[in-house]
Every structure is written in structure tokens, then in C-alpha cells.
């Protein structure tokens, strides 16, 4: 079983890969809308990638209002 820290790291690595950034530039508390300059639909695209990686289903409502990697990782963690 992964720890929340491990999940957070994997989320950040995947986000960096998806948006073609160096993993080091993203931090757990980062607001991904601002840091990545993405909109709500691009966030949903990232979610599909995260679902495939973690082998879970994340309903859209689960991520409503989430804007930082740490909270996103916690939502994923609760479904692992």
C-alpha cells in the first residue's frame, strides 16, 4: 500500500510528464490551475491518465473544487 507521500509524488510526476515539465518544478501545495496554466477540461484529461496509472475510477465530482496536488493525491489515496 502506498503512503500519501508516495501517491503525491506519483501524481506530481505524472502531471509533469503529461504537461511536459521537469518533475522538480512542481510541489505538493502548488495550485495546478495557476502553475500549469490549465483549465478545468485539461484537468479532467490529466485525471484519465491518473486513473490508468492507479487503476481506479475517479468520478468527476470527486475532484470538483480541488486545485492542488496534495488534495488530489488524498482523493486518489482514499480510493486505492
Amino acid at each position: 500500500m502506498r503512503t500519501l507521500e508516495q501517491t503525491t509524488k506519483e501524481v506530481i510526476d505524472l502531471a509533469a510528464k503529461h504537461f511536459q515539465l521537469q518533475p522538480g518544478v512542481l510541489a505538493p501545495e502548488d495550485d495546478f490551475f495557476k502553475k500549469l496554466g490549465i483549465d478545468s477540461l485539461q484537468t479532467l484529461e490529466l485525471l484519465s491518465r491518473l486513473e490508468n496509472h492507479f487503476g481506479i475510477e475517479l468520478p468527476d465530482y470527486e475532484v470538483q473544487g480541488v486545485s492542488d496536488f496534495k488534495t488530489l493525491a488524498a482523493r486518489i489515496q482514499s480510493r486505492l
Binding site: D31, L41, S48, D60, D68
Partner: protein, 570 residues
């Protein structure tokens, strides 16, 4: 379709639709790759009537209000039908709002029944704004796991009674829906919409964009949104058409739905349209040079042939790859909720995909103007719908002034706010707060807003006053939030953003510490609500003797500053 001029209420029209179109497919519900539901109108009635009966047996009666907070799905429309059948008033609330906002609007609406999904109910229960059980009436939740703690709610799926419900007649002037077009934080704006508003709106819209049995509408905008409520429920149902629901808005499933369900119409907000365009553009860019040349030549032919009006069958043959990728049945993309870039609209039209861009407000039921495509115009939001009058109040030398609307679709007023109602509807004219002009061909062109608000590309109304609460106790002398275009009108609906106006304390500077504090407060806001810059002023804010901000006076003062050099990034 049903002749809606003969009907008194939405409940009556929907009841007849269920009987008249009994064998036609009414609803389809898809969750990712799986199809979860497919109902005919007859099957829809068999689900909705026992629900309506149970509602009536619980004491729900004429004029009672029921709120629905759900994602787009069949149970939403079944519940809405049952409420209207029972003579009730619907209060559709956006499932994307925060639980606090949902509770606030729920209370404001006076609803005594709440119909929601289990996951949303869980979030509502965790909120500190949750009322005592004694203050809350009936709560029905869908899709609750078998052993879940329902926290006082009842299971939607088990809420049924086998006796036939009583149909409750309503008059045209009676209230049908209380519609909220935004979240709140200050002054909730509950639009009082009557049965007449909806019946007339539906007549006008379907005269230009008709539905019929067999045509499929893809419902992805929240059904609580005025557009989807009309064109994703009332419109298709009264014509016997099919509504397709998706349980996820992931772009890949959204695009896939077009081919899987042979979609005829879809409504989107500009953000989704832009995303769809980017995906199509990427595919076109991937064509080899030779294929690209041929494709461009075909687009040119299509443009020439569709200059005066769309010719769908011809465009589908000429540019079949593009149309096939969208299912080959798409008649129009309806776009609204916020302003669309003309360039994006033209992109689709050139490919033979008409985009029905329009303009509307919840206060006017849904649409005020719509592009009738004869010819297509990307630079306007179309002409008024039949039965709607437009007027430009106090036009300047270029004919630009406030857009005012009159007709049978204009709301009765705002719930429990006679002052705001009287300011907004004057002598029957709805003052929209949007600036525009009417050109020689009767098309409306928009040039920004005359009120302090913005609309996000997702189609959400944001009032600066509602954002100010998030900056409370900021260690400055005083502050407020404005829409930048309200201070400095730009003659455009694009690029709208909020700015934080600060008056610093004596010897205080906008240093890193203060900036970080603003950034941290900003991050608690939804991405579309955030302030994008800071404007510093050294003069005291004009206020009433009761210390209330005289916003318009401060606006006039700030307008003297140069916009570009005054807005500092954060």
C-alpha cells in the same frame, strides 16, 4: 412536436409528451464505455409516475418547492418531471457549487424537498452550513451504497408508490422554476420563472432549431444551467426527441459520444468548444502535405456553397472525414453561457458545422437572441427570438448602450428581492447590464458589460462582491474587488478578469509578505473566481455614512487611471 401554445404548464406538456411519444427513445445514459440506461417515453413514465405518487403521499403539493442537486442523468429528469407533474416548483442548483453555497441557495429558495446524489449528500452533510434535521424536510438520495449511512435521507430508488399520481394543473402565470445563475456570498439572485416563460421560450427556440423523434441531443452542460434545462429537457421532450447523458465530462468520452450516439445537437460553453476545436485542429495538422492541400480546397468549396445558409448534406459529403468523426448526424452545436470568439465559430462553420451562437440570461428564461444561420454571422450573437423585443437604452454616438429585453420569456422578478427586481425590470423591460448595439440587419452585437461582474469561459457568473469575503481581514487599510472591464470598459466580452483594489496603511508597501497573503487567499477561490491583479490607490474609498462602499464613485475615480500601468500582477 406538441403545440405548446395550447398548454398551461410544463407539467401538462410533459405529461402529454410521455403519452404521445410512448414508443420513442427518450433517454440514454452513458458512463464511460458502458451504457447504463435506455428508456422510451413509456418507460420514463413508468419510472416517473410512482415517484410522483410517493412525493404526493409525502405531503408534497401544489406550489411546494423541490431542489435538485445532481449531475446530468436520467434520475434528474425523472425527478424534475415528477415535481412538475405534482404542481411543484423546481429549484435546480449547480452540483459544482460548494456545499456552503448549495445550502445557502437551498434555504433562500424555500425548498422543502432535496433530491440529490449520495456523493453530493455526503459533502452536504459534512458542511458546517448543514441545517438541523428538524429544519430539513424530505431528502432523497440516488445511488447510495447498500450499507451506507444515509444520515436522515431516503433512497431515491425505493421511493415509489404504485397508485397512479394525481396530475396537478397549474396556470401559465404560476411559478415553475426558481433559477440561480451564480453562486452566492452576498445577495442570492433567484429568478422567478413561470410556466409561460418556458412554454414561450420553447416555442421560439424550436421554431429555429427544431427537434423531432429520433434526433439525439447530447446533454453535457449541467442541467441546472438555463440552457441545458431548456434544450436538454423541455425542448427535446416536447418534441419526442432523445436526450443522451454522459456521467463524465472527460474530453475523450465527450468526443467519443458523437460517433457512438450519432448526436444531432449539443450545447456547450465556449471553453468546451475551444477544446473541441483544438482536438480537431490537431488531427488536421497531422495530415500529410498533399492531403492537407486537398482538404483545404474542399473547405474552400464548402465555404463558397454555404455562404448564404448551411447545406448540411453537401458539407457532409464534401468533408466526410470531419463529419464522420462527429458521428455524421450533427446539425448544430449550440454555444452559450459566455462569449465565444468569432474565430472559433468561423472555424466550425467553414467545416460545415453550424454553430448556433446566441445570447441569453437566466432572467430571460434562456435565450434572447440566436443566430438563425441565414446567413451565418460569427461577429454577432444573432437576432431576437420570435416574440422577443430588444431595445438599446441610452445609446452613445455609435449606437452602443445597455441591452434591454421585453417579451413573454422575461422572469417575474427576483425571489424576495423587490428592490433588485424593480431596478432590473423597468416598465416591462429587462435591463441586462450588457452593452450592445443592433446592426442594420437586426443582429445584436455585444460590447462588454455595464455592471460589475464577469462570466467565466465555463459560463459561470461571478460577482466581485461575492469574492471579497475571501480577502476579509487582509492587513491593509481597505480593499474591494472589481471586474477590470467595469472600471475600464473594453468594448469586448473577452479577457474579463477581476482585480483587487487596495488602499495600503501608512508606510505600508505591497511587499512579498502581503503578496503571499493575497496569493494564499486567492488559492482558496475556484480558478475562475480568482483575482488576476492588484490596483493600488492612496485615496480613502468613498462610503455612505453607514460605511457602505459607494462602488460606482470609486469606479469613476479609478477609471481616471491608466489601466495597463495600474494593474500589477500578483
Amino acid at each position: 412536436m406538441l403545440d405548446l401554445s395550447k398548454y398551461q404548464s410544463l407539467g401538462e406538456a410533459l405529461k402529454d409528451a410521455v403519452e404521445r411519444f410512448a414508443p420513442e427513445i427518450c433517454l440514454m445514459e452513458s458512463d464511460r464505455e458502458k451504457e447504463k440506461e435506455r428508456l422510451t417515453y413509456e418507460e420514463f413514465g413508468l419510472r416517473a409516475h410512482p415517484f410522483a405518487r410517493a412525493l404526493q403521499e409525502s405531503g408534497f403539493s401544489e406550489g411546494d418547492r423541490a431542489s435538485i442537486i445532481m449531475t446530468n442523468q436520467s434520475k434528474y429528469l425523472i425527478s424534475a418531471y415528477a415535481v412538475l407533474y405534482s404542481g411543484g416548483v423546481l429549484v435546480p442548483l449547480d452540483w459544482m457549487l460548494s456545499p456552503e453555497e448549495q445550502w445557502e441557495l437551498f434555504h433562500h429558495s424555500g425548498a422543502r424537498v432535496l433530491i440529490t446524489e449520495f456523493s453530493i449528500w455526503q459533502r452536504l452533510c459534512k458542511s458546517t452550513a448543514r441545517p438541523d434535521a428538524s429544519q430539513l424536510g424530505l431528502v432523497l438520495v440516488t445511488e447510495a451504497p447498500r450499507k451506507a449511512d444515509l444520515q436522515g435521507a431516503r433512497r431515491w430508488e425505493e421511493f415509489r408508490s404504485d397508485a397512479m399520481p394525481n396530475f396537478v394543473a397549474r396556470r401559465r402565470s404560476d411559478l415553475a422554476v426558481i433559477g440561480y445563475s451564480s453562486g452566492t456570498g452576498g445577495r442570492p439572485k433567484g429568478c422567478l420563472l413561470t410556466h409561460e416563460n418556458y412554454l414561450e421560450q420553447c416555442i421560439g427556440l424550436t421554431s429555429i432549431y427544431p427537434f423531432w423523434p429520433g434526433i439525439r441531443y447530447l446533454s453535457i452542460l449541467p442541467t441546472s444551467h438555463a440552457i441545458d434545462f431548456m434544450v436538454g429537457f423541455i425542448g427535446p421532450f416536447t418534441c419526442g426527441a432523445t436526450v443522451v447523458h454522459l456521467r463524465t465530462l472527460r474530453p475523450e468520452y465527450f468526443r467519443d459520444a458523437f460517433t457512438r450516439y450519432k448526436i444531432g445537437y449539443v450545447s456547450v460553453v465556449p471553453l468546451v468548444l475551444k477544446n473541441l476545436r483544438a482536438a480537431m485542429q490537431a488531427r488536421l495538422d497531422a495530415l500529410s502535405r498533399g492531403k492537407r492541400l486537398i482538404f483545404n480546397a474542399l473547405v474552400s468549396v464548402n465555404k463558397g456553397l454555404t455562404k448564404g445558409r448551411p447545406r448540411s448534406w453537401l458539407s457532409r459529403r464534401l468533408l466526410h472525414q470531419v463529419h464522420d468523426s462527429l458521428g455524421g448526424e450533427l446539425r448544430a452545436i449550440i454555444v452559450g453561457g459566455a462569449f465565444s470568439e468569432p474565430e472559433t465559430l468561423q472555424f466550425f462553420y467553414d467545416l460545415g458545422i453550424p454553430v448556433a451562437n446566441g445570447y441569453g440570461q437566466t432572467e430571460a428564461c434562456t435565450a434572447v437572441t440566436v443566430n438563425d444561420l441565414r446567413p451565418f454571422r460569427a461577429d454577432t450573437v444573432g437576432k431576437p427570438l420570435p416574440g422577443i423585443e430588444l431595445q438599446i437604452a441610452d445609446p452613445d454616438s455609435e449606437g452602443i448602450g445597455e441591452v434591454c429585453v421585453r417579451g413573454k420569456t422575461v422572469m417575474a422578478g427576483y425571489l424576495d428581492d423587490p428592490e433588485l427586481s424593480a431596478e432590473t425590470i423597468v416598465d416591462g423591460w429587462l435591463h441586462t447590464g450588457d452593452r450592445g448595439k443592433i446592426d442594420q440587419r437586426g443582429h445584436l452585437q455585444l460590447f462588454g458589460r455595464s455592471k460589475n461582474m464577469i462570466v467565466s469561459p465555463e459560463g459561470l457568473n461571478i460577482y466581485p462582491e461575492n469574492v471579497e469575503g475571501f480577502f476579509e481581514d487582509l492587513p491593509v487599510e481597505e480593499f474591494c474587488v472589481f471586474a477590470a472591464n467595469y472600471i475600464w470598459p473594453q468594448n469586448t466580452m473577452l479577457g474579463e478578469q477581476l482585480v483587487l483594489v487596495l488602499r495600503l496603511k501608512k508606510d505600508q508597501a505591497l511587499d512579498e509578505q502581503l503578496r503571499n497573503l493575497i496569493i494564499s487567499r486567492n488559492s482558496r477561490l475556484r480558478n475562475y473566481q480568482r483575482v488576476h491583479g492588484v490596483v493600488l490607490t492612496s485615496e480613502e474609498f468613498p462610503r455612505t455614512t453607514g460605511r457602505r462602499l459607494k462602488r460606482h464613485l470609486l469606479r469613476d475615480r479609478l477609471a481616471q487611471l491608466d489601466r495597463r500601468s495600474s494593474i500589477q500582477g500578483i
